[in-house]
Amino acid sequence: MHSVVCIKQVPDSAQIRVHPVTNTIMRQGVPAIINPYDLFALEQALRLKDRFGGTVTVVTMGPPQAEVALRKALSFGADEAILVSDRAFAGADTLATSCALASTIRQIRKNMPVDIVFTGKQTIDGDTAQVGPGIARRLDLQLLTYVSRILEVDHGARQIRVERRAEGGVQVLRTALPCLITMLEGTNEMRFGTMADMFRAARAELKVWDRLAAGIEDPSLVGLKGSPTVVGKVFAPKPRALRAEMIETATQEPKDLAVTLLAKLFTQHPRIERELARRAV
């Protein structure tokens, strides 16, 4: 079983500030973290390895500093790490990013066939959720988005069965391997690596692939040149003035207060009332 997990190093958006005058994002001093959604993908891949054995390769496209993210992934238990880094990749949009990552994975599978490519659901900085599907399309992989659980992997039949969050419910899907899975958040919890993994991660020599090593002959397919997206304007939205509503009650009895609040809730969300009524029966 060989999984490739794509991870992206992102600025910790909880600590980001927008410059009050220029409206640009102030990245200076903001710690870089692994895109939180990608950790669910990595943990899922590690669980498959626990069950079936095999290899987990992590890949990131980014500047040299992204090495930190890869080392962290190794410390969780990933086996191999590849940093795809080249000045030619700078300024990539989702199209160029998908292109570069797809080509990288093509190179990886020359050495070892890949069964599943994992990505996060989306990133917390770009938020587009386009890179996963973009890679799947280019590698002609079956695409499973918003996966919440892997139910079964049948190596003999080269099949996989998963649960997928869909609007209003859960779908159970079966498809053929190899496939690409974009993993939903909250579906697992990242493990605490062993001491041996910590040592291995701290000492590992990381593979750094430039454009050619990643198998990209045509430089106009990647980076700014390969990116048709034009950012027209960046601005910080005005915070909405959320106002709390004061509800007057006749008495201070907890029961009366609760009844008043529930009545208010039910008029705005009749579904909740119906659901509660149904369960009460």
Binding site: G29, M195, F199
Partner: protein, 432 residues
């Protein structure tokens, strides 16, 4: 197979980094363990960096260390509820490189220091907590971390795990720290545009100001407040003895809120965006509270060994110097092929006794006790001083002689003549 190193350093604060850097430069196989996500992630400091201690470890630190501003002005304020009397020392000499003191942000600084430690060849592993020391009889032979397969062995272990060293306590090297020997400090960082800071404090680019504060802001407890200017932010905080917090039943947060509302302080942080709030202990027990700092196969450096000069708000420099001294002691023994026995490691304490570290702690030996037992220094005097200033400066038709008499009467009424003399004597003993 468990891993084995020449030396393990626990903690990646200034003490641990100084120790690991020195050991690695000296050619030993060093492992440094830090429980935080990255070095600096758990560290709280005002913070002023004193160049001298770091210069002795990394001479060219100014080339790439993340320094905020060099300090050109020091203010000392004694605050009453609505006023303060103070002094300012500003000197063009402080504007001559190499600068003597800088403001830093510990999260950035510790990360930088750690990168130097790694370049020097030490293996640094974060997000890993040392839970206990591995003992062979009385001798420390390694550490046990919180990870699976977490036992790691070494010939010597340097504990630089900060104030209230749990490891040393667990191993029985020293008793639990007393609440009268630690201060609890809280601080906040307020972000402001660089230009605003520079105009508010009358400073140029890269220049900085420190304000040290005492008086009513500590509400009768033994403690002080501080405000430092960083590049694009202001750090301010206050710390008081933990034992005082206990009896007064005030929270540090309430203290800081009140301090921020003081009419002299509020305008300085006006419009700032508060980004960070942190609380941390400072070991301020002084000379007599320094625990045993060496034994069979182990040494203690930094806050873990009570190496803080509370009166001068020096801590990180003592941490670096003790870390470096511990490492040098180890290197000397290693070079001579001698074992890391308590007898041989005693040289560490001797070296510290000969350095500014122990000499300074000894000089202020009595200060903690005196201030602790005499809260008038934090209540009555600030009030009297401020009233005196007010009386003298206010022009209201009362002649100066009468004013002076009134001031004197106020002092005697509040403290009595003998009280005043006694207080002067105590003050002198504290600083003698």
């Amino acid at each position: 197979m468990a891993e084995k190193f020449d030396a393990i350093v626990v903690g990646a604060g200034p003490a641990g980094n100084a120790a690991a850097y020195t050991l690695a430069k000296g050619g030993l196989k060093v492992l440094q363990l830090e429980r935080g996500e990255y070095p600096g992630s758990k560290n709280v400091q005002g913070a002023i960096l004193y160049s001298d201690a770091l210069e002795r470890i990394i001479a060219n630190f100014r080339d790439d260390a993340p320094l905020e501003r060099h300090l050109i002005e020091q203010r000392v304020w004694i605050l009453d509820d609505e006023s303060y009397v103070g002094t300012t020392y500003r000197s063009a000499q402080f504007n001559q490189p190499p600068y003597n003191r800088y403001t830093i942000i510990r999260a950035h600084f510790d990360k930088w220091f750690s990168s130097r430690v790694q370049q020097a060849g030490a293996l640094v592993i974060c997000e890993t907590t040392v839970n206990e020391l591995l003992l062979d009889g009385k001798r420390v032979v390694g550490v046990r971390t919180d990870r699976q397969g977490g036992d790691i062995y070494a010939d010597v272990v340097i504990l630089a795990d900060g104030v209230n060293s749990l490891l040393a306590r667990k191993a029985g090297f020293h008793p639990e720290i007393k609440s009268k020997d630690v201060a609890l400090a809280v601080k906040e960082i307020h972000f402001l545009p660089q230009e605003t800071i520079e105009s508010r404090f009358n400073i140029g680019e890269d220049e900085g100001v420190v304000i040290e504060m005492a008086g009513k802001i500590s509400q009768g407890m033994m403690g002080t407040g501080f405000l430092y200017t960083n590049k694009e932010s202001i750090t301010l905080g206050i710390g008081c003895m933990l034992s005082d917090f206990k009896c007064q039943r005030t929270t540090p947060y309430a203290l800081l809120e009140k301090m921020k509302a003081h009419p002299a302080i509020r305008p300085l942080i006006e419009g700032g965006e508060m980004k960070e709030y942190a609380a941390h202990l400072i070991p301020e027990g002084g000379y007599d509270a320094v625990p045993p700092i060496y034994g069979e196969g182990w040494l203690i450096a930094g806050d873990a060994g009570m190496f803080v000069n509370g009166l001068h708000r020096e801590g990180s420099n003592l941490a670096m110097t003790t870390g470096q001294t511990a490492a040098r002691t180890v290197l000397d023994l290693a070079a001579a092929g001698k074992p890391f026995s308590a007898k041989n490691l005693a040289r560490y304490r001797e070296r510290l006794d000969d350095s500014f570290v122990m000499k300074d702690l000894k000089k202020y030996r009595r200060a903690p006790e005196i201030f602790h037992d005499n809260s008038q220094f934090f209540t009555t005097y600030p009030e009297l001083l401020n009233r005196a200033a007010h009386t003298l400066i206010r022009v209201d038709g009362v002649d100066k002689k009468t004013k002076e008499r009134e001031i004197r009467r106020n002092f005697v009424a509040r403290r009595s003549a003998w009280g005043l003399i006694g207080d002067a004597f105590k003050m002198w003993r504290a600083f003698e």
